[in-house]
Symmetry: C2
Subunit: 548 residues, 2 copies
């Protein structure tokens, strides 16, 4: 295998860990916990794993002998930088407890457990992947572990391999399912513990107990690097407006963090759009106003950050999409008979007034996507909409009207970018490398302490790693009941951008200045070897959230 | 101005320079030179600047006193990482010759000279921009300096500011024009020297004397970083084919260099397509074959690198575009009367058989772009064609046919990317920071030596910087006569990818292995502070070209 010079040099990096994890640890129990809401329902659904205490690991003077433990590990869902380091930390952790311990990786996600596809992860393999990005060591997948048959099928192979604990690395859904699995295995006395690890680059798995999900730091830094490069180009050429869409379907943490790192002229935050009940036209007018004001100062250039999930946060668009889904489902046969060139007029004639007007205002390409590109259930595929082009096209039209009215006299030339895959598998930053390794190592301590239904937790991460606090949080503690696919289910609350939180407030306090003046910051590429202020800083989001 | 931690740390970097530039230098003349071709014509066009010797700067024991020199500098054309370092090297160079020397920057490109827009570049300003990307210190522009009136208008401000030499930082065209300007100023005894510097991230300004143009190294490393990240994702998810288009209209150096750095499954090289007279269908079949072969092994994923200029290298497409341009120009009025939905059929009915068939085979969106998106001269705007989507759509169609014929039984889900602006303004790599600073410093030595019509040259750059060779190359030496816009003109030969050159041969020797086996390399982000093998390597292209 050919490796780059950086791959080779980076393999030798020793992740920094909390002081407590450097020797024997003892588990210190906190008080009994409650779920964040719906306590009674959650308790009844998780009789065996509800109410457990928060656990903190502290240094111990006593060396305890642990029996060898066989452990399984699963990567679930989308890639996030640092997954391999979780596994490396877990490996080193179980070996430190007892060198005869073994680690098994289930292949291509939760499906590997059900289908009995696995490999033993030996020291050779682990060493190949230390501090690398991607999930390619064992692969990942999106199979959801939800059904009793899956749990029982999985248990067969766990028994066969003598596995006493399973670590599931995933987002909010995967950790919810991990807890359901923990509860089930405990209820039937299967003798298999289940521990979760908080992963998602979207940053929407966080709460009082989990400061951040891993991968968010690295991904935001990669996106900010290229946004910074684009901004430098923008400011050098002074002739384009760059519309940059950023990953993040269900929350705008990435766009907000990148805005804090790079100070663009405009950043749209979906949560604000929803809270203010902004229409698509409101957003377009907001952008066009800034374009026009900058043009009046002779600045016909700028940058706009757009979260991927924006469309689904615009209340009026949500209503349009709902009616469209409903209408097209009911009138599928008739719709298919309509000539392509007449479909748009047909839909406009059939929708309710509000939705019809909105549909008519959309550019042709987007209107076509909304009516044609439906998924197997007949639903509009919102994710296919190129929001960055939609917005720039509508802004261009509005500016053209203003020009005719004499209200605007500039040039508007847009460029488009979308960053998602560019950052999901980057080699983890020092922060993520340290954080992930510590999460994995902590998971091994939770296993050794006999815990199940816990999420591995490392806190106080804006301080030097020495002072980080390792422990475990009962997953039920983060749960509430939510409607999913028409059914009430216990789930981990998704963390959206809080409009009264410090990161958004920081952004809101500066955005007018950033809009008019060109205040671009150029973060540059992630550095692994330089001075600590360059290499070891956590995200602005986390720094602001943790600021006392 | 808010600066990122990296911006602050990087400002302190001291570029490495050739040993000869560390103290007093002497200019050593080589033999008289000839242009690469058309010697008689070039000589008659450049009577005052033809045939001059190649110059090498060597260490001197003698300290010479130089009078203060006022110097002007211009950034011409597209941004490339390192432009600011050329200016910093030039500044330090003229100050080293005499601290009373002054440097003036002309604003927003060559237009600044003609319009008398300039600023004095003082130490404060220079220090703000050391080792930064972008051209925002003085801006750049695309005005071409070609006409006597421009030269005369420029001379007014040069005289007014007492400028004795002008440094023009640009690509092949800008350097050609710099030489025309040098010749003119010498012919009229204007007393202004003109020196060029080789810039272009496309890498197509290089020859026997100029090893590489600056910016190519950094830009390719940024693109390779994100390509590597995408490949790691590709190999982790194992479900997408990523079609990645890379900057480079007139040559495929960037795509080839990125392929050598990242080892993708497929890389198309425009120069090969042209040499082998490949049709669009040949390219599509080539890609589809690899997709199908990988699918047969169970690998429904992969990566394809595509140079931006590909379409214009496909001989059949060139013929189609030529006929379309011609036909639409002649039948503009009639064409505009045709209903949108019938335009395609109309064009198909009117073109010659070969071109009509090709046009009919194109996906609808591309066909529409070809007929509708014409520039002010009525020409098809080839640059607007989304080649990455065109290819993936055609590959998808071919695979669908093969599936029906039972020849293919895989899944084909494409993703698309285009990288251009992401790399043009990155902070220069150590290589580009050193190379650019040395080029700028060398320019100051050429000025001090009284030279004009020279390009600043730094060679032997695969060796440690100490051993680099600084000097000057007469621009006329790189010229030949070429037809441009219907007229024969003296121009610097553009360097295309040589199919018998070492970089392409290295790629060709490995591409079959890379296609079938997954051999991805992950270069990671540019490092500025780490071990030298990580931070200081020149491009693979240069290393292979210089290998003895």
């Amino acid at each position: 295998m050919v490796k780059s010079a950086l791959q080779i040099a980076r393999a030798a990096y020793q992740p920094k860990v909390p002081a407590a994890l450097k020797g024997p640890v003892k588990a210190v129990d906190g008080e009994a916990t409650q779920s964040v809401a719906n306590q009674e329902e959650i308790k009844s659904l998780f009789p065996n794993t509800y109410g457990m205490p928060v656990i903190t690991f502290e240094q111990s003077n006593e060396t305890v002998e642990f029996p060898a433990m066989n452990v399984g590990v699963i990567l679930s869902g989308g890639q996030a930088p640092g997954g391999h380091n979780v596994i490396a930390g877990l490996f080193d952790g179980i070996k430190a407890h007892n060198p005869a311990s073994r680690l098994y990786g289930f292949i291509l996600g939760p499906g590997g457990l059900v289908d009995h596809k696995y490999m033993e992860l030996t020291a050779d393999i682990i060493d190949e992947y230390r501090n690398t990005g991607g999930f390619d060591m064992i692969g990942s997948g999106r199979t959801k572990l939800e059904k009793k048959e899956q749990f029982d099928k999985g248990l067969e192979i766990l028994k066969e391999l003598g596995i006493k604990a399973l670590v599931i690395i995933g987002g909010d859904d995967s950790n919810t399912n991990a807890c359901v699995l923990a509860e089930y295995y405990k209820a039937i006395g299967a003798g298999v513990q289940v521990i979760g690890c908080p992963k998602t680059i979207d940053g929407d798995l966080k709460n009082e107990q989990i400061e951040t999900s891993f991968g968010f730091d690295t991904a935001c830094k990669v996106y900010s690097e290229v946004i910074g490069n684009i901004q430098r180009d923008c400011n050098s050429a002074q002739k384009y407006w760059h519309f940059i869409k950023l990953m993040g379907r269900s929350a705008s943490h990435i766009a907000l963090e990148c805005a804090l790192q790079t100070q663009p002229n405009i950043c749209i935050v979906s949560e604000e759009v929803e809270a203010k009940d902004m229409s698509l036209d409101d957003i377009v007018t907001y952008i066009a106003n800034i374009v026009a004001k900058r043009a009046a100062e002779g600045h016909n250039f700028g940058t706009v950050l757009i979260p991927e999930g924006l469309i689904e946060f615009v209340p009026a668009m949500k209503r349009l999409i709902a009616e469209l889904n409903d209408f097209l489902a009911k009138n599928d046969a008739e719709f298919k008979m309509i000539k392509k060139s007449e479909q748009r007029a047909y839909i406009i004639s059939k929708l309710s007034k509000e939705n019809s007007d909105l549909y008519a205002s959309l550019p042709e390409g987007v209107a076509r996507q909304l009516s044609l590109d439906r998924d197997p259930h007949g639903n509009v595929q919102v994710s296919l909409i190129e929001t960055e082009k939609l917005l720039s096209e509508m802004v261009g039209k509005k500016l053209a009207v203003w020009k005719e009215e004499g209200k605007y006299n500039g040039k508007f030339a847009p460029q488009h970018h979308f960053f998602g895959y560019e950052g999901r598998c980057a080699a983890p930053s020092n922060y993520d490398a340290d954080y992930c390794y510590s999460l994995g190592y902590t998971a091994s301590c939770l296993i050794a302490a006999g815990k199940t239904g816990y999420m591995s937790s490392v806190r106080n991460t804006t301080a030097p790693a020495d002072q980080w606090i390792a422990g475990g949080i009962p997953v039920t503690m983060m749960m509430n009941m939510e409607r999913r696919h028409g059914e009430m289910k216990p789930v981990i609350q998704k963390a959206l951008v809080k409009l009264d939180g410090a990161p958004f407030k920081e952004f809101a306090a500066h955005r007018e200045e950033w809009a008019m003046n060109t205040c671009y910051v150029y973060p540059g590429p992630i550095q692994y070897f330089g001075p600590t202020e360059v290499c070891d800083q956590p995200t602005k989001t986390l720094q602001l959230e943790q600021k006392k």
